[in-house]
Point group: C2
Chain length 128, copies 2
């Protein structure tokens, strides 16, 4: 989502924006779900499991999730360096309602696809 940053006058009406703006990017959910599945994972493991994420975006995504308190980061002062990532309690609690959405998407994404295929643009109707 580009739920871009904003001086949103609806923050009160839509407190969800405060949070979902940050999770609505290309990778956050995928990282969270991967951590949920895999438990504590190293940077390189996350990278390989998500596969098509770039190093840059994985690092950036993890920073934000860490900053929001959804993911914990543990650095080991070894050579080579090792960094473990895991869900925090807050992060795990977030995924619960998120699974509700996931279930909905699984159940209805075919309906959505069908609607997209059946859709005819308003203009196109009278265009000919």
């Amino acid at each position: 989502m580009s739920l871009h940053k904003s001086k949103d006058p609806y923050a009160d009406r839509c407190p969800i924006r405060d949070v979902l703006e940050r999770l609505g990017d290309r990778w956050s959910m995928l990282v969270l779900f991967t951590l949920e599945e895999g438990g504590t994972l190293r940077f390189s493991v996350l990278k390989s499991q998500i596969a098509d994420i770039s190093q840059r975006m994985l690092a950036q995504t993890l920073r934000r999730l860490e900053q929001d308190g959804l993911v914990s980061r543990t650095v080991y002062a070894t050579v080579p360096p090792r960094v473990d990532y895991a869900l925090t309690e807050l992060g795990a609690s977030f995924l619960k309602p998120m699974h509700g959405l996931l279930d909905w998407a699984k159940a209805h994404h075919q309906d959505v696809h069908a609607a997209r295929r059946a859709y005819t643009a308003p203009e196109a109707i009278e265009a000919r």
Copy 2:
């Protein structure tokens, strides 16, 4: 989210992307919630209720929601023209799990804000 479009190799693992990519923009959720509250609403009413949305983005958002089958669009051939928008059953069913997220956000957005304030960038620690 810029859950931008993508040739996503994780569509199977993350079917939620198919759907949430589209809902993850700046206005979709707000429009859906507004329709949930207000029932059937005209374009101008939606515009005034959301207030800071531009005509362009409202129209674009409604097109996408309509295309995905979440919102219905009814045109009356009157002068001046009148167009009603309302949630479809699919749209209403989507909002149910979405409220789970909303509740989480309401319950925890303070935790998130607290985490953000408490956060110190990794570099900043050893930077001085």
